[in-house]
Symmetry: C2
Subunit: 323 residues, 2 copies
């Protein structure tokens, strides 16, 4: 049994050893650049954790984890182009550092390369792993498309339910699929791997709503972000879509005018509206509801309690974070 910290360290060390071709230099140098800007690698680590729920870590959990991490980085590179983002994790976004064509190709290569690692797994369950991976990779594209659609939609055309569908696809499926693949590799049956998928979906949605909540109501000293950054960007978050669903027509017109305020006035005005409609408390309850669902599912998975410790710890890291 490895702790969460040990598994994180194992994966980090392993991912650094992944080798890439060197020619053409402008392609692979930029692949290395983006992979060098490491994030928390929560998805691949969750793949190891799920493997360990059922058996000792197998080499294939690293293969599946590397596949997920490569794909995740591809979607970050392509998202940054779509959003016109300048920075990624504090460094220049790839299309800014290099150029847009190379960033498109780096993303394409990373998608292709993720299948290279899936193709190395045990033929006994390789087809199943690839099917899970295809489902989640497709889901991420769909979620990103919905996110684009959301951005172009009018305020009255978005709903909290659609927001949940979008975050499930864009954010939660990759975590869910990582857990599910790890479970398959560890020897779980279809029921157990399916339950871990559902655990990941609920945890992922809880995480997303909490992220929206902290943006408005979190302590900037702890989050390290500007308070109300989503409001500044006019992002249609869970908080905003829920509020819109509650507003009577005349208040809706008021909100539409608020959205045109200068950001300095917009942030306090929208925050006040959230408070008027009890959105702060509602968001806390939603996070709790999705978290509770996740943990109820986890209880249904019949493995020794101590094997669940790193997964529970991961959930706490994701949800109790104070930053």
């Amino acid at each position: 049994m490895h702790s969460l910290e040990e598994l994180s360290e194992l994966f980090r060390a392993r991912f650094k050893q992944v080798e890439y071709p060197v020619f053409p230099e402008n392609l692979y140098h930029n692949v290395q650049y983006i992979l060098g800007i490491q994030g928390k690698q929560i998805r691949p680590v969750s793949c190891l954790i799920a493997n360990q729920l059922f058996s000792d870590i197998k080499e294939d959990a690293f293969h599946a984890g590397i596949a997920v991490e490569l794909f995740h980085n591809s979607s970050l590179v392509h998202d940054d182009i779509m959003d016109g983002a300048l920075l990624r994790r504090g460094y220049e976004a790839l299309h800014v550092k290099n150029n847009m064509p190379t960033a498109i190709l780096v993303g394409d290569f990373l998608i292709i390369h993720s299948f290279e690692y899936l193709n190395r797994t045990n033929p006994l369950y390789r087809e199943q792993l690839i099917n899970i991976f295809l489902r989640i990779a497709t889901g991420v594209c769909e979620g990103q498309q919905l996110d684009n659609d959301f951005e172009n939609a009018g305020l009255r055309d978005v709903s909290y339910n659609n927001y949940i569908i979008m975050s499930e696809l864009k954010t939660a499926v990759l975590l869910a699929g990582s857990l599910s693949m790890g479970a398959v590799i560890g020897g779980a049956d279809d029921y157990q791997s399916g339950r871990l998928y559902d655990f990941g979906i609920n945890l992922g949605i809880a995480f997303q709503i909490q992220d929206d909540y902290l943006d408005v109501f979190g302590d900037p000293a702890k989050t390290g972000k500007r308070q109300g950054g989503d409001i500044v960007k006019n992002k249609k978050t869970s908080l905003l879509t829920k509020t819109i669903g509650l507003l009577p027509d005349e208040k809706m017109m008021k909100l539409e005018s608020i959205m045109h305020f200068h950001p300095e006035k917009r942030v306090p005005a929208v925050t006040a509206l959230y408070r008027d409609y009890g959105i702060e408390q509602w968001a806390i309850e939603q996070v709790k509801e999705f978290t509770d669902r996740a943990f109820t599912i986890l209880e249904e998975i019949d493995v020794p309690q101590e094997r669940k410790a790193p997964l529970i710890q991961l959930a706490h890291v994701l949800l109790k974070r104070q930053y």
Copy 2:
């Protein structure tokens, strides 16, 4: 045994039956749009042809062919973004018809979806097919990067050898890999499928040089394209890179000034330079040399001659085309 025309028709009918999800509409509607603008489907048809060299057509040859065609369309959609192209096969390019973010996502989905079809093939050789596919898909990304590098390079920094490496990756590997996968599915051994790969590389390069040749020396009434279109776009073709390699320093300076002429003067000036350096004849010989290599390889493949007929016919369609 099916003729080339029958195999083309079989694939065309089959590809139309491929089903896609409907939600999110903005993603899948545009997937259908780009796949609806059908090209000649030479790559997937060559997969069927290669299968038929060794045995009757198997269902898996359609799966592999669909994978190749989906991937090819992905690279067209992404290339059009990179090149800022307005049209694709006479219709609006996807990023023009819709928008750039959706075009990126459609391309990403098509890459992912191509693996869906590879994952349906017989486990006996699935790993091998995926490995061939990974090699060619990676090659296409590398070739596209080299093409971008070429475009940004100065005239003195490009060489005919580099041009051949670039076209091998960008154009020839997808044909070569399709043939190779078809051969594996048909029951070929490693030597035979490897030889078909090499056949495809040589045929693909011959095709590319001929394409460059026809652009300058072909009959516009037959090509349906503006004569010297590549010269107008300052494209670094096989003809141009070969010429650069032959030019003494003082002529090189002249060429550099010619490249800044107005297109109406540039086309005849560059064409005259090609004639001065015997490039017209050289190109014809190069096409013949690569074609001869391809056919020599084909002779080494020990199957009944009548089984080779559709493949020879395909090569003639590709190379003796008068349009």
